[in-house]
């Protein structure tokens, strides 16, 4: 995996978060080996407001990139969360279901939603990197 923002060779692997990639729909995924951890971005959690319910996927569920994998609800609205990559759900953040506000408080750490075993690792590289995502957010804000 190429990682332009923080190359693994120059940082100790355990102390630096893995590079995230983003979808235009504001999901993020970070990949460790062939397993991607999925959540929603800080921008998305802010736009959504206080999250009160998270619907997690079933472990074992096969998902296509762009298909619905989870749902997040705030007082304002329900939002479908789409799989940023194709693969099989290998873990769901059960603790998050009990603490939905983690999405707001810690969107990139405690607020992860599920882990997907990538069936097509090349898909990861097609997602937006930190910089392009930032541009995308700025553009959508106007």
């Amino acid at each position: 995996m190429t990682n332009l923002l923080c190359p693994p060779s120059t940082y100790p692997h355990h102390s630096v978060p893995l590079a995230r990639r983003y979808t235009k729909e504001h999901e993020w995924v970070s990949v460790d080996g062939a397993v991607g951890t999925v959540g929603i971005s800080d921008y998305a959690q802010q736009a959504l407001g206080d999250v009160v319910f998270v619907e997690l996927p079933e472990v074992g569920k096969e998902v296509e990139k762009g298909s619905q994998v989870a749902a997040v609800e705030s007082v304002k609205a329900a939002s479908d969360i789409y799989a940023p990559v194709t693969g099989k759900v290998v873990e769901a953040n059960e603790e998050l279901a009990k603490n939905p506000t983690w999405i707001n408080e810690s969107p990139y750490e405690k607020g992860w939603i599920c882990k997907i075993q990538l069936s097509n690792p090349a898909e990861f590289e097609t997602l937006l990197n930190e910089e392009s995502y930032k541009v995308h957010v700025e553009e959508s804000a106007h």
Binding site: G49, D50, V52, F53, E55, A71, V75, K76, A77, D80
Partner: protein
């Protein structure tokens, strides 16, 4: 900001999320700019006779300076709009929805013409120059009292019960004050000239030290009215729903039930007698919040109706919803199911309002 009935409206303001803003209104006070709503004045020597045709209200029995929730009905017994109508000395002041502005006015003008052809003296005037501020929450009266310059009695507001109105001066500006709202809390709607609205709003926001009254947007307005069991026009009620089905038959007095005379009276009065086939109910839904459009099912999976509004209730920390079910399934305590994203969740018919109203009654 979101587009709403041709206006750009804030869902929330920068200093607070929907949840926080919701709690702030329940605990302190919120200020909603509801100037998008349609304010009209109905005048003329026969204005009450005219209104008895287009509204279900019994205005001839209402004293001046008293308001009530009423309904504009169509000839099929459906609801064209809901409104707050208030008697004044020589006219009636009506506040109705922004989203229905054009059709309300078209309907009222059509009826006006018919009435005039019959020789009636009535006129309708849209109060274009007036803003409307809704101050809502338990500290509303306390905050507003600091700005009332006339009448000078310090406990003047204590004499105004829920659904009563008065002309007062707020910071020197004559306004029309009505003790009503859309949150289930004590509060006021203040009708005042556009030119003075920003200044009065600023004064309310800075009253009592500046942390008591906070701006509130459409987000909390919706969650608050839902908890209060109040209908949102176009969602919970519309032209194909009768007042009886909607649980709003209480807006039709004994006298009006006996005399009829409003559009759709036959259908509506018949339904009052024989009972409606479906009813609006309140639901508490387990698991996922059920939103508008969610299917309501019996325990055996039979499709019963749809949710018309629903959200997680910030005050109850439960999912609340309203929707329509066959009258036979509408009894309090009935166990039902609601489908959200293909999954069925248990739901129970409960009493509305979900959160008890705290309207003001003088001692």
């Amino acid at each position: 900001m979101v587009p709403f009935a041709g206006w750009e409206m804030p869902v929330q303001y920068a200093d607070m999320g929907v949840l926080q803003s919701h709690h702030h209104v329940r605990e302190s006070a919120g200020l909603f700019d509801v100037s998008h709503m349609l304010q009209t004045k109905i005048t003329g020597s026969d204005h009450l006779a005219f209104l008895s045709r287009v509204l279900v209200a019994d205005l001839s029995s209402v004293p001046s300076d008293r308001a009530q929730l009423s309904l504009i009905t169509n000839d099929r017994g459906g609801i064209i709009d809901d409104c707050v109508v208030q008697r004044r000395d020589d006219h009636v002041y009506l506040v109705s929805n922004a989203g229905t502005r054009d059709k309300d006015l078209a309907h009222l003008h059509t009826q006006l013409e018919i009435f005039r052809k019959e020789g009636g003296d009535v006129a309708l005037e849209v109060m274009e120059g007036e803003s409307l501020l809704a101050l809502q929450g338990p500290k509303s009266a306390q905050a507003l009292a600091t700005l009332i310059t006339a009448p000078s009695s310090p406990d003047f507001l204590a004499s105004i019960p829920f659904m009563a109105a008065a002309d007062v001066d707020v910071a020197g500006v004559p306004v029309r004050l009505t003790r009503c709202g859309y949150t289930g809390e004590d509060g006021f709607e203040i009708s005042l000239p556009h030119s003075e609205a920003p200044r009065i709003a600023e004064l309310l926001l800075s009253s009592l030290g500046g942390s008591v009254v906070k701006l509130a947007g459409l987000g909390p307005r919706d969650s608050l009215r839902l908890e209060a069991g109040l209908c949102l026009y176009g969602h919970d009620v519309d032209e194909d729903v009768s007042p009886v089905e909607a649980g709003l038959a209480w807006t039709i007095s004994k006298k009006r039930r006996a005399e009829g005379g409003f559009l759709g009276a036959e259908t509506i009065l018949d339904q009052i007698k024989s009972g409606p086939t479906r009813k609006r109910v309140g639901l508490i839904v387990d698991g996922a919040p059920a939103r508008e459009g969610a299917q309501i099912l019996s325990l055996s999976g039979e499709k019963l109706g749809k949710v018309t509004s629903g959200a997680p209730s910030p005050s109850l920390k439960k999912n609340v919803a309203m929707g329509y079910v066959p009258a036979g399934q509408s009894k309090l305590g009935t166990e039902l199911q609601v489908e959200v994203r293909g999954k069925k969740y248990n739901a129970k018919v409960v009493k509305m309002p979900f959160v008890p109203a705290r309207y003001y009654k003088p001692n």
